[in-house]
């Protein structure tokens, strides 16, 4: 029988939990997530966090600096896994917290919460390395399919939260509610765009150099804010050296929560807290481990061109 509090403790210590416990946790999480809407309604105050990418120790720093769960309410914008050395522990910890404190934690889906992407960028290999089979990866991927696509914080005049950005197929938040999200992330269409698109200084919808999603500019953001009666789009998805970056007269913000990303980039990270009056408060934090040497892992050291 899964003991959530014990599992949380073990994961915080970066310790192994049994395959059976992972299975049980994933089933419980699915039961919970299936009831959530595509766009989750979240109360203030809430702390919005960007990409984590398996940097467990930095996730723990985040909790330390912004308040432990359940004392603080959290909204994570996806990309829990891949690239970092502890994708599994990071995702399972967030999942445990979600199951343990469902109203205090909201998890939405990032473009890395996908079968295809995790086989390229490390999560699949990590599961195989740690459990000797793909079972755990498979359980997690099934949870990915149930994650919400976005969230709305603070009601009218509030904050629309999504991993990537806008889609030319979506004018109103209500349209997102019609998507059948319980599937692998498609290669095109509204669901794909929400997880893949990026803001940029473009005049209209443009092709994204990532090969999925679109680039959108101030016009698209202004229209979306106006039509949906919100004041801000909070998204993640792009590395920001300063941790966060507001664009378009403060109509959009990118929040990035993986400091020294990939143990190489030297960036700081940030989270954004929205209070009851919809004020924004950014908190910056730095990497625990400035170098990869302290990270006990069989993975090879960070790549450079030598």
């Amino acid at each position: 029988m899964l003991d959530l509090d014990k599992a949380i403790q073990l994961l915080k210590e970066c310790k192994h939990i049994s395959e059976q416990d992972v299975h049980e946790l994933c089933i419980k999480a699915q039961e919970l997530l299936i009831k959530e809407a595509n766009i989750q309604i979240v109360d203030t105050p809430v702390t919005i966090c960007g990409d984590i990418h398996g940097q467990l120790h930095d996730l723990l720093t985040l909790f330390k600096s912004s308040g432990d769960c359940p004392n603080a309410r959290y909204l994570f914008l996806g990309d829990f896994v891949d690239r970092g050395f502890y994708s599994l522990e990071s995702f399972l910890l967030l999942l445990c917290l979600k199951v343990r404190y469902p109203d205090r934690v909201t998890l939405i889906r990032g473009n890395h919460e996908s079968r295809q992407i995790t086989t390229v960028y490390g999560f699949y290999d990590e599961c195989i390395r740690k459990y000797g089979s793909a079972n755990v990866w498979r359980y997690c991927c099934e949870v990915f399919d149930y994650l919400a696509l976005g969230a709305l914080v603070g009601g009218e005049g509030g904050v629309f939260c999504v991993h990537g950005g806008l889609s030319p197929d979506i004018e109103g938040i209500n349209q997102i509610k019609l998507i059948d999200r319980k599937q692998e992330v498609p290669h095109e269409g509204a669901m794909c765009d929400l997880l893949w698109s990026d803001p940029d200084n473009v005049k209209r919808w443009s092709i994204s150099p990532r090969g999925a999603g679109y680039l959108f500019g101030k016009n698209e953001v202004d229209q979306f804010l106006y039509k949906n009666n919100i004041s801000l789009i909070a998204r993640a998805h792009q590395l920001v050296m300063e941790g966060y970056k507001e664009m378009f007269n403060g109509g959009l913000v990118t929040v990035w929560s993986a400091p020294n990303y990939c143990y190489r980039c030297g960036n700081v990270a940030a989270v954004l807290t929205i209070d009851d009056n919809l004020n924004r408060d950014y908190k910056i934090f730095e990497a625990v481990l400035q170098d990869a040497s302290a990270i006990p892992s069989k993975k090879p050291a960070t790549d450079y061109f030598l």
């Binding site: 090969g211 980039c265 061109f305």
Partner: protein
């Protein structure tokens, strides 16, 4: 081989594994890589008694991320482009191409057969040149490409390797064992094997960064003053004026690799000024991100973008901005060089 030399040498295996990965994914085409691997399979054990299997395995089987493949592509392609422009410029002259710290580079096999005016010289540490020498002379294809007869009737591989020269000296291709920090020997080798008046292109691909700046300065000065018409192309990491360089130094320390001047000449301006201070007047410099954008045509960019799905766009830009390409020319006018450097 002292430890530091061993470590620097291991960086060539890393570069080789990157080229193998980029070749497998069709970013670059390098039909000679398999011959290099074949030679390593036979001879690496003489250089690394215990760990040759492991090293070989990491060279052949490591899977590189799309960002690394793209970075390897632009690194390889940009230097190729400069070589090709140089050959175009001196179409009707005999020219020399020197690669400092050539390692397992396959360019001579590609360029020598189709460009009769080139004489190609590669420098590296003696263990590295010996391994490459053995690889070349026992491989009929590689031997043919550089214009020598292969050795086919080897009875005992151990005796063959033990008795082999560190260097390979042939008509058009010379592979010379040298520690470049030994300036006296460098002088002697230049006098013995190179013609000071032939137009000479010198390639330093991720080599100066491993040397103390005092040594690299001496190397550059020696080369500059020997040749009357020379162009030097340098590919090196630069630390940047952000935290990237500090993290890089820390990360490389784990692998015992040190880059003494990474933070000293940490911006394009400072690197360029360094060369100007050494008397190089015409110094062009850019970061590899700009080179990727400006040197590669749209069709090729489209081809590259379809090879692998690239999610880590910001990281790629950041990484490429911390590598630079320099082209500096002395003694001849290369005003028709039409690839853009932004500085």
């Amino acid at each position: 081989m002292d430890r530091n030399t061993k470590v620097i040498r291991s960086t060539d295996y890393d570069a080789l594994s990157c080229r193998i990965s980029a070749h497998k994914k069709q970013y670059i085409q390098d039909e000679y890589l398999q011959h290099i691997i074949h030679g390593f399979e036979k001879f690496l054990k003489y250089e690394y008694k215990l760990s040759s299997r492991r090293i070989l395995n990491s060279i052949i089987n490591s899977v590189k991320l799309p960002i690394i493949n793209r970075g390897t592509y632009i690194r390889t392609r940009s230097i190729d482009l400069i070589i090709e422009k140089f050959l175009e410029k001196f179409e009707s002259d005999d020219v020399q191409i020197i690669n400092l710290g050539a390692g397992s580079d396959t360019r001579p096999f590609k360029y020598l057969p189709t460009n009769e005016q080139i004489s190609w010289v590669e420098f590296d540490f003696k263990d590295s040149t010996k391994l490459k020498n053995a690889t070349i002379v026992t491989d009929p294809i590689l031997s043919k490409k550089i214009g020598i007869k292969p050795i086919s009737d080897i009875e005992n591989l151990d005796n063959f390797y033990n008795g082999l020269n560190d260097s390979l000296i042939s008509d058009r291709y010379k592979l010379i064992a040298i520690d470049l920090r030994d300036i006296k020997t460098l002088q002697d080798i230049l006098n013995q094997f190179l013609n000071k008046d032939k137009p000479t292109l010198i390639i330093s691909e991720c080599m100066l960064c491993y040397t103390e700046s005092l040594n690299s300065t001496e190397i550059l000065q020696t080369l500059k003053s020997f040749f009357t018409k020379t162009s030097i192309v340098i590919y090196d990491p630069i630390g940047g004026d952000d935290n990237f360089g500090n993290v890089m130094i820390e990360n490389l320390k784990i692998r015992n690799i040190s880059m003494p001047s990474l933070l000293e000449f940490n911006t394009l301006d400072k690197y360029s000024q360094r060369l100007k201070d050494l008397g190089f007047q015409d110094v062009k410099i850019d970061n590899l991100n700009n080179i990727m954008n400006n040197w590669i045509n749209d069709d090729e960019k489209r081809r590259i973008s379809k090879l692998e799905f690239l999610d880590e766009l910001e990281e790629l830009n950041l990484l490429l901005e911390h590598y630079c390409l320099i082209l500096t020319t002395c003694g001849f006018d290369w005003s028709e060089f039409d690839l853009e450097f932004t500085q």
